[in-house]
């Protein structure tokens, strides 16, 4: 191990002396996801380098590839990255394993208490913060106000699933290529899996009971999956079984969806007149619930920056994280791109800023985030943390396989019962393999 360190250090030294003509003290390598807000941040990194003299190398990858890369690297202690972009699922697990540098000594002016409590809890293990949120999100309903009016209906602030289904059927208009509702059906625990899991909470379902027995054989799951499939077959787009966040975003922006229930960050994309043909006609509402169930179908997620333990450049990395997730960065973006485009959902102070309160989706985003409770996500008690996921290491594998079975239902390849039976078997198999 130490030999490797020496080797690494020597290489780094050689590289540095080779690059000594440029006056950069250190360069940190950051793995990140190719979402719009991250790409915008890359554009501003020159400012960070100017201020601190620390260079930044970006490794930008598509979400699935990123997960695979950073997980391999952290579990083998590969040390390829100084900062990794991770989510609410990974952070507590990795933090518990001691793989991340605790962020407990952030500077005074960073004001760590300003981070929204829901985000802070989700990114902590045993009360210690392990990754700083770059942006946070819940999910909510985005709908076309003009189509809603045409259909002669009115969206309540907190609708039920029954209302949504009715409204979707009313707005659906095949002749004009408008689908009543667009939802994620794409396989993958972070895609369609996240949606259906969050939705199942609002039907009173859960993944496991308190003894870690899978619950797919319970009536609540059957109701969730049947309701979703029926509604999407009535009023959803063709081929929704392969639609994820991105596909739906582009459908909505083209004016092909009446409603869309998805990440709150999408609000700024669908109301941006440059990309969206329907920017002026978007309304927002809380994610629905089943009549009489207290939980709603909204999730909680954050894309956050964490530092792998063992990096030589922890101090520089911390400096970067403080810069990228600071109030100043938000102001920098607001100044250049307008308040609607700042990274949302991370800081309380943002929602207290008068300019931001005028942004049409600000309030609903905050309400949605506050309505999600990862430590107590379901109606019946569960042994796990997480709204649209289960924060155990095995979940990524299980969740993806289960959601693949569900997607096969959406594609008409098997029945709801078959899928749930397989889901139950897969989950049992994997939990046994993991030693539960």
């Amino acid at each position: 191990m130490s030999l490797k360190r020496v080797l690494g250090a020597t290489t780094a030294l050689t590289l540095c002396s080779a690059a000594a003509a440029f006056a950069q003290d250190t360069t940190i390598t950051i793995a990140t996801v190719n979402n719009g807000d991250m790409i915008r941040m890359q554009g501003y990194t020159d400012q960070f380098t100017e201020e601190t003299g620390i260079g930044v190398e970006w490794v930008t990858l598509e979400e699935n590839v990123l997960r695979q890369r950073v997980t391999t690297d952290i579990t083998t202690k590969g040390g390829q990255f100084d900062i990794m972009t991770i989510g609410m699922y990974e952070t507590p697990i990795w933090g518990a394993n001691g793989w991340l540098v605790p962020l407990d000594d952030l500077s005074e002016e960073y004001d760590v208490d300003d981070i929204l409590p829901a985000m802070r809890d989700g990114l902590s293990h045993d009360g210690t913060l392990y990754a700083a949120p770059f942006y946070g999100e819940s999910s909510m309903i985005m709908y076309r106000t003009d189509l809603m009016e045409e259909a002669g209906m009115e969206m309540p602030d907190a609708p039920t699933w029954e209302f949504i289904r009715e409204a979707a059927a009313a707005m659906d208009d095949d002749a004009n290529d408008i689908n009543g509702i667009c939802l994620r059906g794409k396989a993958g625990w972070g895609e369609g899996g996240a949606f259906i899991t969050a939705m199942s909470n609002s039907f009173g379902a859960r993944w496991f009971d308190e003894d870690w027995t899978p619950q797919f054989d319970q009536p609540e799951w059957k109701e969730t999956l049947s309701f979703f499939t029926d509604m999407m077959n009535e009023s959803g787009p063709a081929g929704y079984a392969t639609n994820g966040f991105n596909e739906n975003l582009s459908l909505f922006q083209q004016g092909k969806c009446g409603m869309w229930i998805d990440a709150t960050v999408a609000a700024s994309f669908v109301t941006n007149p440059e990309d969206s043909t329907v920017a002026d006609h978007v309304g927002f509402a809380l994610a629905p619930n089943k009549e009489g169930v207290e939980k709603r179908g909204n999730w909680l997620w954050a894309w956050a920056l964490g530092i792998p333990a063992g990096t030589q450049k922890a101090d520089e990395a911390k400096q970067f994280i403080e810069w990228a997730t600071s109030k100043d960065y938000i102001e920098l973006v607001a100044e250049n791109e307008g308040w609607a485009n700042v990274p949302p959902g991370a800081r309380t102070s943002l929602y207290e800023t008068p300019e931001y309160q005028e942004v049409p989706f600000a309030e609903m985003t905050l309400n949605s985030i506050e309505a999600a409770d990862p430590t107590n996500p379901t109606v019946d008690p569960v042994p796990y943390v997480g709204v649209q996921f289960v924060a155990i290491p095995e979940f990524a594998g299980i969740g993806t396989q289960v959601s693949q079975e569900f997607s096969a239902v959406y594609a008409g390849q098997q029945s709801v019962d078959e899928a749930l039976e397989k889901a139950q078997a897969i989950t049992q198999e994997e939990m046994e393999a993991a030693g539960y």
């Binding site: 490797k4 190719n34 719009g36 190398e57 598509e62 582009s250 922006q253 083209q254």
Partner: protein
């Protein structure tokens, strides 16, 4: 009479071949065309073929986001380095198999080919751990070596088939004239094998260029080639067909152009000893 028939036949053959050729090429053509459209035109219904406002905007956006030249340069080094290294190691092996065959030659050849069937995912962890141990993560050296090893069986086999087509009498004649082993390879065999070596180089350059599993998993910032470049464009937010097309065009253009310019060599060499 015979002439008239052949002209008619030629016309039909031409029409059919061009039709199929364009059909096969169409996805690439469409990608290239789309890369010059605006995002709105890229998804227009009905689709627009040529009558759109040609723009370079997508290329500008892609270039702004990622430093294309660095990825390109890494691709060139990885593909070029691994291919050249592979040929250097393979030439002597193929030579001895072709000219001093033993009972076991064919078994060795087939065994070499069978190593290519090792599923890459299955050995990801071992290789990753080895790379960490020797500090070779995100280094070009490791990838050159791995890509070389992956393609070595193909290189040996291709060279073997070319060498075998060289008549043995020529070698004997050279030996009579007192040529040693070294002279024999350098002055007699190599010149005759140049076309074969050229097409081997080309084919393996293409294979190494397009290899996406190892190049993606073992690189971060320093050694990342164009396959990693593409991985950051696979599903960005919002409308992205035009940008995806631009990035795709940038990733495949160099190899496409190289392939077209050298297609004669490639085609001539692509026989794997199949023609005899």
């Amino acid at each position: 009479m015979a002439r008239a028939v052949s002209t008619r036949r030629k016309t039909i053959a031409t029409a059919a071949a061009w039709g199929i050729g364009l059909l096969v090429f169409f996805p690439i053509l469409w990608t290239i065309l789309t890369s010059f459209k605006t995002e709105a035109q890229a998804i227009a219904d009905p689709p627009i073929f040529l009558g759109f406002d040609w723009t370079l905007e997508n290329y500008r956006v892609v270039q702004e986001r990622s430093d294309y030249m660095r990825f390109l340069w890494n691709s060139v080094i990885l593909a070029g380095g691994s291919t050249i290294l592979g040929v250097i190691i393979a030439v002597p092996a193929a030579w001895s198999m072709a000219f001093v065959p033993s009972k076991r030659t064919k078994d060795i050849l087939l065994w070499m080919l069978s190593t290519k069937m090792l599923p890459a995912v299955g050995v990801l962890y071992p290789i990753y751990l080895i790379c960490i141990r020797f500090g070779l993560l995100d280094s070009r050296a490791a990838l050159v070596a791995i890509l070389m090893l992956i393609n070595l069986p193909i290189i040996v086999w291709m060279l073997y088939t070319y060498f075998r087509e060289i008549p043995g009498e020529i070698l004997e004649a050279a030996r009579m004239d007192g040529a040693g082993l070294k002279e024999e390879i350098l002055y007699v065999l190599t010149p005759m094998a140049v076309p074969g070596i050229a097409s081997t180089l080309l084919l393996n350059f293409i294979l190494a260029w397009n290899e996406a599993f190892w190049t993606l998993n073992l690189t971060a910032a320093n050694a990342a080639p164009l396959t990693a470049f593409i991985a950051s464009y696979s599903s960005p937010e919002g409308l992205f067909y035009a940008k995806l097309s631009a990035a795709s065009t940038m990733a495949i253009a160099p190899i496409l152009i190289l392939g077209w310019f050298s297609q004669k060599q490639l085609v001539r060499g692509l026989t794997f000893g199949a023609v005899k």
